[in-house]
């Protein structure tokens, strides 16, 4: 088996973007209206594939955030009095309107974030729609979720989301907050605001009362103003562990509740009795899904020593067939890195890995001349103490370590400040349950990886954050 470039030749199959409907300039969505930012400042949202400008987005300052929170606080009085069943019906409407616009949302998501259209179309957008549909049904059934506890909504939820799954994260945040009777101010990431703004249009069209959902775009300052606002009673944040800790410090001493979905350095463990070809697919999906911009990415691969050579050979061969290129091409497996800054971060880690002396491998594929691209990358024989094995890279870079015994791999896998997810590959059921019960991680995939569902709670142990999103347990984060 050759590890040379065995990428198959495909004819281009570019998804048309002719049907999408974007404004040239977006205001802030506050109190059911589109308003100008009081700073009068706008920033450009661009396509990471060709670095071309897509639309102008408002930069919300402290005053704008205050307007949005005041609107949400006012709307809360009304929203918390609407019957739960009616509340649910609005959320069902949002789900349906999103489904109707699914294709447009998928194309915009791919353009704005750089993710392959195949993933936006088949994963991000359907999951986002389903999330609203799932939580809509909970609105009038909350007393079944937490019997004997007389739970109540919290008030205004300030929500800050990342750029890796823009619309899906908006759905993860907004749907449970509304179902539990809270109102929302959401801030999307600065590089990927567009689908959140499209969602604002959908929410407007749903007829939900003004102010129940407000969307303010901007940078870190905008988020910080939201976190610090005294009328916000709940912070829901998905992003880096460093920013998560900053948020915790800001809200110490207040009564604000928080849910933090932070970084990860998840272990993907392959035993010698695993179905190797399936496991190789799982490794590929675990680390290269969404360019590796996934907080639960299986970025630390642990292979049992006696099969390491075989697994690595097959892995390299499979990597060579990954298509890196135009996100809108339906053949593309790995799209564009979300931003120039992120590409720099990834390259810095790759340089560190090479300097540290781990065995380095990248595929031979040609990269587009423009845009932000990174080849699928492996580091073999990485030391447990290596920076590469400890820090989150958030890109298509996999480190490989080997192990001999079950105890050894549990120890190595848990030896991380993070604890978001883990993968285990073996044909032996009792071994699976031994591993899944000992790994300190919030989500464990056995003989699969990177699967998500609205009914499945997601969230981490340790410094990967706290609170759960999704499923019955995701409701708890928005109730007291």
């Amino acid at each position: 088996m050759s590890t040379k470039n065995n990428a198959w030749e495909y004819a281009d199959s570019i998804e048309s973007a002719s049907h999408i409907n974007l404004r040239k300039q977006y205001g802030l969505y506050i109190d059911g209206k589109w308003v100008k930012p009081s700073s009068n400042k706008y920033f450009s949202s661009s396509n990471p594939h060709d670095e071309k400008h897509i639309a102008d987005v408002s930069e919300a300052n402290e005053d704008d955030v205050d307007r949005a929170v005041q609107a949400a606080a006012k709307a809360y009085k009304l929203w918390s009095k609407i019957s739960a069943a009616e509340r649910g019906k609005y959320i069902f409407r949002i789900a349906r309107l999103m489904q109707e616009q699914a294709r447009e949302l998928a194309v915009i998501e791919s353009l704005d974030s750089g993710k392959p259209i195949r993933e936006a179309r088949d994963i991000d957008i359907p999951l986002a729609c389903n999330h609203f549909f799932y939580y809509a049904g909970w609105a009038d059934k909350l007393e079944y979720a937490f019997p004997n506890q007389q739970k109540k909504p919290l008030g205004v939820a300030g929500q800050i989301i990342p750029w890796n799954f823009p619309l899906l994260m908006a759905a993860w945040k907004i749907a449970p907050a509304l179902a539990t009777g809270n109102t929302v101010v959401l801030k999307p990431a600065e590089t990927t605001s567009l689908t959140a703004l499209k969602l604002a249009e959908i929410i407007e069209a749903s007829g939900i009362p003004s102010g129940v959902v407000n969307i303010v775009t901007g940078f870190g300052d905008t988020g910080a103003a939201l976190v610090a606002h005294p009328k916000v009673s709940k912070i829901a944040f998905t992003g880096s562990t460093a920013v998560g800790k900053l948020i915790q410090k800001t809200i110490a001493g207040s009564n604000k509740k928080a849910t933090l979905e932070l970084g990860g350095k998840s272990a993907n463990i392959i035993f010698d009795d695993a179905p190797i070809d399936q496991a190789v697919e799982g490794i590929i999906n675990g680390i290269f899904f969404n360019q590796g911009h996934v907080c639960c990415a299986g970025s630390r691969l642990f292979v049992q020593e006696n099969i390491a050579e075989k697994v690595i050979r097959k892995l390299k061969h499979r990597m060579q067939s990954l298509q890196v290129g135009n996100p809108l091409d339906k053949n593309t497996d790995i799209g564009a890195i979300n931003s120039k800054e992120q590409l720099k971060i990834i390259q810095r880690y790759i340089d560190i890995g090479i300097k540290e002396g781990s065995e380095f491998f990248q595929t031979d594929c040609a990269l587009p001349v423009q845009g932000y691209y990174c080849r699928p990358t492996l580091f073999v024989n990485v030391a447990q103490s290596s920076i590469l094995a400890q820090e989150e890279i958030f890109g298509p870079v996999l480190t490989i370590q080997t192990f001999r015994t079950v105890d050894e791999v549990i120890q190595k896998a848990n030896n991380s400040p993070y604890g978001l997810a883990a993968g285990v590959w073996t044909d032996k059921g009792s071994k699976i349950f031994n591993l899944t019960s000992k790994l300190k991680a919030g989500v464990v995939w056995a003989n699969t990886y990177n699967k998500f569902d609205p009914s499945s709670p997601f969230g981490g142990y340790k410094e990967s954050g706290f609170g759960r999103e999704g499923g019955l347990h995701g409701l708890g984060a928005y109730l007291k």
Partner: protein, 292 residues
């Protein structure tokens, strides 16, 4: 001639042993009339570190005990406490409880222990879920203990506050380090003796006495503590929350009046649990009918 009474030495409880504080210091506990009622260990940051180490060592095997067995151990605590009722009542009365108040406090504490003993093998059954995902996977979520929990006990209560914060933590398989009420520490030390004779493995519960203004910091900044349970009237709450950020300890603040019967429940247990979700594929065999 009047018999000379044997006075009790109040020591701390670490790893199933009753050492004096390594610092060699003590403080006098005064009652409302400012009369000294006992000399108690003034624990140090080193005691906190020793206690956390003992708690970590004990946690894994406590978690792995069958939930049913943990229930039996907790029930045994109630049995032992019942047998020592008189001593606890007496100590509470030294700490300015009236006889009636003291009796009620001890009765309620015993009942609360029995209550949580019963939850050990039930809370996960009630609070877990099988999640009906759309893809062909079996998916379930269940709770696991957080690990080592630091408890800063209710200051105003000699026994019930402590018991109400401790029991849900260990019922769920955590181990803990307790900073006892500074003003009313006697029952905490005597409770340690009860725990020690109730099949609770050494190190699962560690109890320190001393000044909160000295002990909140080493406990809440310790990188091997996973969660903090604190009395809502603790004046160091903000500082505890800030010190907890480094390893993202889960901090729970309780302003509840634990003397009320409704201030117990499954939520006090799940407050110190982590939810784990597990996925596994379900093979769909081609041509198989669903009408077997």
């Amino acid at each position: 001639m009047k018999r000379v009474e044997v006075l009790k030495t109040y020591k701390i409880y670490i790893g199933g042993k009753f050492p004096r504080t390594e610092s060699g210091r003590f403080y006098k506990v005064l009652n409302k009339a400012e009369k000294p009622i006992a000399n108690v260990c003034l624990s140090s940051r080193k005691d906190v570190r020793n206690a956390v180490q003992a708690a970590r060592k004990a946690q894994g095997s406590w978690q792995e005990r069958a939930a049913f067995n943990r229930g039996q151990v907790l029930y045994r605590i109630a049995e032992m406490l019942e047998g020592r009722r008189a001593q606890f009542v007496e100590e509470l009365m030294l700490e300015d409880y009236t006889k009636k108040e003291a009796q009620t406090e001890v009765d309620n504490s015993i009942d609360r222990i029995v209550y949580y003993a019963g939850w050990c093998d039930k809370f996960n059954q009630v609070a877990s879920s099988v999640n009906p995902v759309s893809s062909s996977h079996f998916n379930f979520s269940s709770y696991e203990p957080m690990g080592v929990i630091g408890i800063m006990a209710v200051k105003s209560s000699g026994l019930l506050g402590l018991v109400s914060m401790l029991m849900p933590v260990i019922a769920g398989g955590n181990s803990c380090v307790i900073i006892a009420s500074e003003d009313k520490p006697l029952c905490a030390v005597t409770l340690a003796e009860v725990l020690n004779s109730s099949d609770v493995p050494g190190g699962v519960v560690n109890i320190l006495t001393g000044h909160m203004d000295e002990l909140w910091s080493p406990l809440s900044s310790h990188m091997d503590v996973n969660g903090i349970s604190t009395d809502g009237r603790n004046k160091y709450i903000t500082k505890v929350q800030l010190a907890s950020v480094d390893n993202l300890k889960r901090v729970r603040v309780y302003s509840n009046d634990f003397s009320l019967m409704q201030e117990q429940g499954i939520q006090f247990i799940t407050d110190f649990q982590e939810l784990k979700t597990t996925w596994h594929p379900i093979e769909k065999i081609g041509g198989a009918s669903n009408s077997y």
